[in-house]
Amino acid sequence: MADKITIDVVTLDSVQCAACGYMMESIAALPDDVQEMIEYTEWSIKNKDGIGKFMELGVQVLPSICIERDIVFPSIIPQYEELIDEMAKRAPSEAMKDRIESLRDVGFQFDKIQENLAKAGAGLATRTDSKVKK
């Protein structure tokens, strides 16, 4: 069983498209304790890997946040608590579910956004020949 929750953010391009950028930021601004429990990637449909993920997940609109392969936020930038609740529902263990739910009142954290976005490859694969690094 996976020990992290997988989040896929399918975008046009989080640099060019503000809506995509703030979808990515909604994950990158999650507090440190949540960051330890998630693994997330930006999939820009400007490259073939992104198109592949778009098709694989059955995404209909951009941008969309998928948690554990479920399309949870299609064209809606989520509130903090909504994100926490949807991640908790899909946590791989009861212990992780409890830990995520305990962070419901913490709120977004803005001091590591750039670092977290870089880890997710945000804005780095926007050319047609780009490869998404996992």
Binding site: A18, M23, L62, S75, I76, I77
Partner: protein, 311 residues
Amino acid sequence: MAKQMLLDAYRGKRTQKPPWVPYAGVHCAFLINEPADKMLKDPELLAKGVVNAAQRYKADGIPLVFDLSVEANAVGCDLKWWADNVPSVTNHPCSDKTPAEAGLQLPTQDSGRWPVLFQAAKIAKPQLEELDCALMGLFCGPLTLASHLAGVRIFTDVYKHPDFAAEVCKFAGEIGATSAEFYAEMGCDIIANVDPVASQIRPETFKEYVTPNCQAATKVIHDAGITSSFFICGDATKVMEEVCQVGTHGFAVDEQMNMNFIRDLARKYGVGFGGNLKLTLALSLGLLSSREDAIVSLAAGGQHGYTFAPG
């Protein structure tokens, strides 16, 4: 090239044929073999890029820049520059305080990158006039700018801290009105309020936070006798009734919208509409035929208030 035809379409009037606007943005830099960041910082290169794109694409109108970081940068947000993209905002001065508490002031013509834009417009405008091509000024809309100022928390604050969200969005709307004044002074023929993240919220949130904070800028534009528009991106289906009633002469949408739905809505409200060539799937990736896509757009849009444009 036909500026008047474009102005007519933007105002929802009938035209002899659909006018055409390439929202070229940083593609202007690519066309003159320059990096995007270099072009956006250099008024002469920016003017050269814009005029070149207008000529190459036989445009009826073209934006000076399509860059939603200008306003945020002018009030103190830092930028990350990219060689092949627009700059992105890297910090949010209102992430833990209101604009007043953060000491933010409305921009002047000397703030941030505005001097570059004024200089570029001065160079480009007469050349575009000769081409009979409209110069378009695009400014960052209230919710997108509020996101730049406060970060992604703004989407939670609209429910949990509505007073805070209202204060940030109000300030963003005031900045938008200032930008509209600047673009009017530059001689722009069309000024558009560009609020892409406004598609990512519920209609009631749009009515409460976006619509009222567009009014000051729209008044500036209309008082100057200039044509206005509201640009929105993404799947904006749920807020399109609100977009049609935001008070601008028209609107533009991206490739995710159904053009027949958009056309019918625009005609219902008597406003202009534009879009929505498939920028990604056809023009960029070539997964769809751009020719067939164009025919579909043209057939749906017709010659009544429609501007042919990428989405």
